[in-house]
């Protein structure tokens, strides 16, 4: 039977999943992005120095990541080297984003697939306290505290107005946590709401606000540094940053990571489900020099094929191409070709069913997402890809956290190739990153203490210093995976702009060869106990942390007319 799930909630954006289910298992799947804005088209003919402000609006959940990739693309095109301080401020903003985003994803976007809120009412608060104290030093762990959370939840349920929790799949047999673990999850759902609000003040200090920090510049940052001025990042502000980072370290190490491992220990069957493609890619990121040399990356890049961790290949952005065989666009040379972003073209042509519709026409075109491929391979990007690449390339920090997590769960490394592996990798990555952030803050402080307050390189600020034509590539390992922006600058303005984003890699449709995208592949074999309550499908889809606003984009490098768009 065919099931369509639309809207997929607890994600960013508009995602529709259709699956074929036989004998209680998914036998085939189609992933469709159902919203289109066309921000790259809007970028054409604009000042390349403005591009990051526009590009940042590609997404407000993974806010800031497109701003970073955008300024890097323009800097790459113009040959700009940014100052140390600008790199460090960018690293702190991006790293804080990664940590905050991972925590919010687990508690507020993903946990309700594993935690049955209603069962928390049946918990013994004393048992929850005992459990909490056995897995963590987190101070909010008394019986009284959990009793208070439970009372609050009971009062909320008693009102009969269940709000965002109404019509959840509560009581579904796939929920297997004991009541006390559910209560722990509910308590930390609420605590994480408060924590994320506090932690992200790092962005306000260094970027003016969040969402959509506003301190990027082509050539550096606008974050004014001066230890002795009230109006800038000064000694007082540095001290607040250090406090916020400390609270981040405490929360990840004492709440997020222990919760993930505790909950995962009840769901080990999900370490054999949802593996999908088995191909993993990352560009790598967080360079320690200012020329973005890959050998200085804190997160190493690379390509793993067929789960083979012993043969990591180097990546090269020239190997990226995009297909529209099953996407609502046409290519001039036919839809069987793949095009590199610098040569890319897009003519949107909606050939889906006329709304309102019940099912997509999945044999033809069925998504606003294109299908990116690396050297022809469908690949998965994201925290799992990064952690596998770091693990396989003997990164000591990553290996230590990964090995510790695997031994606590009493599973081998192969368990990582799964839905549960994605959840665990995200928590592991947050732990690795939150431990690193104080190092970068310390380097910034050291520079400022030496009187180095440089934050921007003005050499190529004036467009009269630019070449007549230039091409640039900007990358970032965003929370959801490998992000690339490609820019073509001509006569001082943007001639072409393209973004190939993590969720396009993961949520994209089939390509010319019929290869499924990462979501589609991972869903094969997923159990579906009750088609009316497809919580198992949500588990695997959410394990990728979908971000669909990011994923749908279109560019038009050749000035094609759009008058031919029509609903067929």
């Amino acid at each position: 039977m065919r099931i369509a799930i639309d809207p997929i909630t607890r994600i960013e954006g508009h995602l529709r999943i259709e699956v074929e289910v036989q004998d209680g298992r998914v036998t085939d799947a189609w992933s469709s992005g159902t919203m289109f804005r066309g921000i790259e088209m809007i970028l054409r003919h604009r000042d390349p120095r403005d591009a990051w402000v526009f590009a940042q609006r590609i997404c407000g959940v993974c806010t800031t990541v497109h701003a970073l990739a955008s300024v890097r693309a323009v800097e790459n095109a113009l040959g700009i080297t940014i100052p140390d301080n600008a790199r460090l401020v960018r690293d702190l903003i991006a790293g804080a984003q990664l940590v905050q985003d991972h925590v919010v994803h687990f508690y507020h976007l993903h946990a309700l697939d594993w935690v049955d809120v209603t069962l928390a009412l049946k918990a013994d608060p004393g048992a929850t306290a005992t459990l909490a104290q056995s897995i963590s030093l987190w101070p909010k762990s008394s019986k009284t505290y959990f009793k208070g959370v439970q009372d609050r939840l009971q009062a909320f349920v008693n009102t009969g107005q269940l709000g965002i929790f109404a019509n959840g799949y509560w009581g579904h047999p796939a929920y297997v946590l004991p009541p006390e673990v559910n209560l722990l999850g509910v308590a930390h759902y609420l605590e994480a709401l408060d924590w994320q609000r506090d932690f992200i003040r790092i962005h306000a200090i260094l970027g003016g606000k969040n969402p959509h920090p506003q301190s990027y510049l082509v050539g550096g940052m606008a974050t004014a540094l001066n230890p002795n001025n009230e109006a800038t990042v000064n000694a007082d502000r540095l001290s607040l940053l250090a406090q916020l980072l400390q609270r981040g370290q405490d929360f990840v190490a004492q709440v997020y990571l222990p919760d993930v491992l505790a909950i995962a220990s009840f769901y080990k069957d999900w370490s054999a489900l949802g593996s999908g493609l088995g191909n993993y890619m990352a560009y790598g990121d967080y360079p320690s020099d200012n020329k973005n040399r890959p050998d200085t990356f804190f997160f190493p890049g690379g390509l793993i094929l067929s789960q083979n961790l012993t043969a990591v290949q180097a990546v090269d952005q020239h190997q990226v191409s995009e297909y529209v065989t099953h996407s609502w666009y046409n290519y001039a040379a036919g839809d069987a070709t793949g095009l590199h972003p610098w040569q890319g073209e897009t003519a949107p042509k909606f050939t889906g069913p006329q709304p309102p519709y019940d099912f997509l026409l999945v044999d033809g075109k069925y998504s606003w997402l294109k299908a990116p491929r690396y050297a022809g391979h469908a690949v998965e990007v994201g925290p799992l890809a990064r952690m596998l690449l770091a693990y396989a390339q003997d990164d000591a920090a990553v290996q230590s956290v990964v090995n510790s997590a695997l031994s606590q769960l009493k599973v081998g490394p192969a368990a990582l190739f799964s839905t549960l592996g994605r959840v665990a990798a995200r928590a592991i990555e947050a732990q690795v990153m939150v431990q690193q952030l104080p190092t970068w803050l310390g380097q910034l402080e050291d520079n400022m203490a030496r009187g180095d307050l440089r934050i921007h390189d003005n050499t190529y600020w004036d467009p009269s210093t630019w070449p007549k034509e230039a091409f640039g590539f900007g990358f970032h390992e965003a929370p959801r995976g490998s992000l690339g922006h490609w820019v073509h600058i001509k006569d001082g303005e943007i001639a072409n702009y393209q973004a190939v984003v993590p969720s396009t890699w993961n949520a994209g449709p089939r390509d010319a060869a019929g290869q499924r995208g990462a979501y589609e592949s991972a869903l094969i074999g997923t159990p579906v106990a009750n088609p009316e309550q497809p919580v198992e499908i949500l588990r695997t889809v959410h394990s990728f942390d979908p971000c669909l606003a990011c994923a749908v984009h279109v560019v038009d490098p050749r000035g094609r007319e759009y008058a031919n768009i029509r609903v067929v």
Binding site: A4, D6, P7, T9, R10, I11, E12, H14, M35, R37, G38, M41, I42, R44, R46, D50, F54, R57, C59, G60, V61, T63, L112, G148, R152, A155, T159, G163, I164, F165, A166, N167, G168, Y169, L190, R201, A204, I205, K209, N210, P211, Q214, S215, L217, G219, A222, T223, A224, N229, E230, A231, T232, Q354, P355, R454, H456, W461, P534, A549, V567
Partner: protein, 428 residues
């Protein structure tokens, strides 16, 4: 007296305050929150007791949050609200029945939550809209559950007590409506004319202003007073320039001349680096962001004018200095500065539009959206263009709700002036 107290006790047992007290919120914290709200709403402090009383008594009205051509930045901004917090609002102040980004159910179960609210709470719930609504090609650029955005917004907003458009996309079309866009994106007011509508513009809107709008509704049973763009006066009544902590540097002629120069390190005025604060109406400098931690000018980057309609086209290039305004220095009044800037921005808007029919249509549509709900429905280009000529609507400070805000004054804004300068042709 005793009887009154007993009644008060009864109210407390059922009201929002009861919910808050069950959460362990102290009476002192509750009163502090009410005071913060009074301040955020730019009300005199004598209104605090009224807010306290209202929140003590309020039941939890329903709210549904729709997302269309959006980036979820406004959802995230709501998550950052601190007085009250998102948890306070969602669990205690309102019955937050539908919001794709955070709700538990998906698919048909999620749609049931929406349908149940529309039928059971018809005419009583608040609809929040995030993201623009694409009208081109039958609306195929955004579908949810197989339905188009415009189909959904007509039903959900049409049956609501009122609609709050959060962010510049939902208010005025925003980035999908910028020049170069092909999806026919418009704001809610343009998509469904005639709604009772509040536009919380900015990219994203500040979560604190959403919280304040909701509290205003709970307190006074009606929406806050607005300017001619349906934006609440408490948030959009004043120019950023007028409240900027760097204003003294502007008046003294102390400007950042280059990124990272000495003036930049001393927190001087960013006007010459392209700051759009003199042309933007928002309470950014007063309430700031992320629990009052900072704001864009505070970090050292200029304002990009994100609270203004069409800012993606009218305010860019973002690093171009606003054309010279008459008479720098302490002798110049804010009104004079604003007048000059508004005229120039209007001229820029027009210049930007030359040679682009698409862009002209966008501007016309946005102008139509910008005018109040008395504007006729915009269904085609010619009508949209005629709407442009008629957009010099009188400043009514919103609806009857203006009466509730005794401090509210008519907007004396660059927008209003811009409209005046753009007026050409006769009123219909």
């Amino acid at each position: 007296m005793a009887e009154h107290e007993a009644e008060q006790e009864h109210v407390l047992a059922d009201g929002v305050w009861a919910a808050l007290s069950r959460r362990g919120i102290s009476r002192r914290d509750f009163l502090k929150f009410c005071t913060v709200m009074t301040s955020a709403l730019a009300l005199p402090m004598r209104y605090t007791p009224r807010i306290v009383r209202a929140l003590e008594q309020a039941q939890r009205p329903a709210l549904v949050w729709l997302e269309f051509q959006d980036c979820a930045g406004n959802s995230e901004s709501a998550l950052r609200a601190s007085h009250p917090t998102f948890a306070d609002i969602v669990l205690d102040l309102l019955s937050w029945n539908y919001h794709e980004t955070v709700m538990a159910p998906s698919g048909t179960a999620a749609e049931k939550s929406l349908h149940d609210t529309i039928t059971a709470e018809q005419g009583k719930y608040l609809a929040v809209v995030e993201g623009s609504i694409p009208l081109a090609y039958g609306g195929v650029y955004c579908t949810i559950g197989g339905r188009t955005a415009i189909d959904i917004v007509k039903e959900v907003c049409g049956n609501a007590y009122a609609t709050i458009a959060v962010g510049t996309c939902a208010a005025f079309g925003g980035i999908p409506a910028a020049a170069g866009g092909v999806t026919g994106a418009v704001g809610v007011g343009d998509a469904v004319p005639g709604l009772k509508l509040i536009n919380l513009s900015a990219c994203p809107m500040n979560g604190a202003n959403l919280a304040a709008t909701i509290v205003h509704w709970l307190t006074f049973k009606e929406l806050p007073a607005t300017d001619e763009l349906n934006r609440p006066l408490f948030a959009h009544g004043d120019r950023i320039h007028d409240h900027c902590p760097r204003r003294a540097h502007y008046d003294a002629g102390q400007f950042v001349e280059e990124w990272g120069d000495e003036g930049h390190q001393l927190g001087w005025c960013l006007y010459k680096m392209g700051c759009k604060g003199p042309a933007t109406n928002y309470n950014c400098p007063q309430i700031q962001w992320n629990d009052g931690t900072n704001w864009p000018i505070g970090v050292g980057h200029g304002c990009v004018g994100c609270a203004q309609p069409q800012f993606w086209d009218a305010m860019s290039p973002f690093y171009r200095t606003l054309p010279s305004v008459p008479g720098f220095g302490v002798e110049t009044t804010a009104e004079e500065v604003g007048l000059g800037v508004a005229a120039t921005v209007a001229a820029l808007t027009a210049a930007h539009a030359v040679g682009s029919a698409v862009r002209q249509r966008r501007a016309a549509k946005s102008q139509a959206a910008a005018s109040n709900t008395a504007t006729p429905p915009v269904t085609g280009t010619s009508q949209a263009l005629s709407a442009t000529a008629s957009d010099a609507v009188p400043v009514t400070a919103g609806s009857a709700s203006a009466q509730t805000n005794t401090e509210a004054k008519p907007a004396d804004t660059p927008d209003e002036q811009r409209h005046d300068t753009q007026e050409e042709g006769a009123q219909p």
